[in-house]
Amino acid sequence: MTLRRTLLSGTAAALVAMAGSAAFAQDMAGPNGEQLAENQTFTYRVLDEFPSIDPNLIEDVEGSAIGRNLFEGLMNQDSEGNVVPGVATGYEVSDDGLTYTFNLRPEAMWSNGEPVTAQDFVYSWQRAADPATASEYQWYMGLMAIENVDAVMAGEMDPSELGVTAVDDHTLEVRLTQALPYFPQMVTHTTTFPVPQSVIEEHGDAWTQPGNMVGNGAYVLEERVPQERIVLTKNENYWDAENVYLDTVTALIINDENQALTRYLAGELDQTDMPAGQFPRLSEEYPTEAISVPNLCTYYYNVNLTDAGLPALQEASVREALSLAIDRDVIVDSVLAGGQVPAFSLTHWATAGFEVPESDVMSMTQEERNARAQELMAEAGYGTDGEPLEIEILYNTSDAHRSVAVAIGQMWQQTLGVTTTLANQEWQTFLTTRGEKQYPGVARAGWCADYNEASSFLDIMQSDSGYNDSGFASEEYDSLMAEARTAEDPLPLYQQAEEIIMAEHPILPIYFYSTVFMLDDTIKGWPLENAQDNWYAKDLYRVAGE
């Protein structure tokens, strides 16, 4: 094994010209008995340098993918997003749902050969919650409702008071302050992954550098050049290493998505995101490579309901008219054209255990919607024959958001006689403006589920939610959501809450996201059914091309 590994990592250095690398006369078969390619490498594109690859600090989607390959949490997700054993072989829940006991597999090892113990998890969780770590994902620990977590995060209590203990080397006990049915789903997130205490104490902040970094995932960090590449190689100490096929996983940092696409077509990449609007052409030319799968995110416009908003927008009928006049089919089919789905609700249709409540709007044709919208607008006394209305659409700078805003602005103009101005701001400025509700009209938003459950969407419209940028406040809504938290069957409550949103229109839902990308057709095992798009390199393999 050692010999093979050195040889292959040697060839991996010449990654771009990989096709003709040294041949091995060995019969390798994939998980389903496919003929595997000699070349077991995978190269994909990421947009920007990873802010961090320290599991406790990771804050972005692309960093999380690296985290899942370098580390392994208590639980993993399978190709459909279901929770499957990771370092833990399973768990028991107490009857009140407040205590979880995870049983860790004894064969799990760090890449330096040390065993992975329950103490490693305790250390990691305490570290993530510790104010001294200053993790931007600290709030995630709060979301998990672990005993004492709020006091620890506020610095009022020592991290050792956190409600997580190692009963023995292979048993981890977690005590919660409220029953969370989706708790096992939450420990598939990188913030909860174990980190090696001895290594961190030895190297400090530099522990994430190649050579220093020790992980318990299927891969180890081989090379990291900022703004250029990150290379992972197979971890032979991983407990399930014999079922890991790819030897090398490389992420190339490419800012420009069109350049990335050109380089994909030139064979330099195995996977890359697709620029908006190019899916129809690419899926025609490369039917086996252009892929579009649903993604648990909703794209919508916040309407400012606070005093800073336009007076006209405080009327629900005006908001309804604006919502009706958006031809969502044009947006998804023509503007984005990547398999997105028109949205009339906040919660994504593919959310586990959720059904979007029925509503007339969905069965209407766009002509009927437009007619109804014009009626509503005329009643309210705005638009073509009434008081002129000018609405500002605020979005964060990006070509795709601009295209959507341009189209919606024209739809309002052409259907309702409402003029629009477009305003775009840089991400950080945009977040401040929107967060402080300082926009006069509507502001673009996109929300992705943190875990596959309806409350992950609906929670954001509660009156005290940090992401409720419309300033929507409904006691009824809040009480429904509070009730749902402990309800046996929360679905009807979620649906009632959703119906409030659909009647009040504090937000104008536009579409449900899809993930659109190019994937080399020899790469197999991509979790297309996982609506959160959480992929694990250990599940991928490359079959021999014919």
């Binding site: 709030w139 610095g155 250029e228 490419i254 050109t262 030139a266 991400w427 967060g435 940090g466």
Partner: protein, 307 residues
Amino acid sequence: MFSYILRRLAVAVPTLLILVVFSFVLMFAAPGGPFNSERPLPPQIMQNIEARYGLDQPYWKQMVDYVVNVVTRFDFGPSFQYRDRSVNDIIRQGFPVTLTYGLWSALVAVIVGVALGVVAAIRQNSWVDYSAVGISIGAQALPNFVMGPILVLVFTLWLGWLPGGGWRGGQWEYVILPVIALSTSYMASIARITRSSMLEVLNSNFIRTAMAKGLPMRRVILRHALKPALLPVLSYLGPAIVGMITGSVVVDVIFSTGGIGQFFVNSAFNRDYAVIMGITILVGALTIGFNLLVDILYAWIDPKIRY
């Protein structure tokens, strides 16, 4: 001469200080901080993070601390966005990349540009001249963010000769396309400058005398005309080299070379104050340095210049 250099260096210090203060003021005036995220952080967590980076201190203290750290320990502090590394790490990794293709570009631009300009001047008003002038104006006008993608399309996708981006420690095949994209417009400028100054020199009396004496053309050009004709090129080189380093903003984005330009743009968007400051100071110092170097060279070659 020596006192001139000293005087110039004395100006450099206040210049850099002004730059630091100006950038600091800009950043403090900015809406949106480095730690805004889609899900607003609870105030407690925000405080923890700000305390870690000293952002809870008064502005003047942050500025003084920063300057003291830079001056005494050459320490630009930690990056806010890229938490795994310090600004020093980022500059250490990114700057050699930028410098490598910047200097190669300068070399290519000078050699090709001067050759083109000299040939055009010698064959003034012939088709050689017209095509050289046409090419150089075209090259100067074509933005490199158009040329870059075209180069990748042709050399990577169609011909498959060169990689379409990346750096890999500066292996030659990764350097070629960025250098072409970056050097072209400077090459064109140098060609035009060389042409006009060469024409001027060729019309001057001492060259006419040399020609009249029957010296071979080649020799006259190389031995007598080239040196005075290149003086304006030299004075252009200072700003040009600096331009090539700032030009990396575009080249890095197109070719993913990982130079400081890419860090700068991303950090500006992410409000990563520490990285922005570090790179701004570095580029400011380089601008001063290269301009000084060129002026010294100029004085050395052309003793007529007085200080």
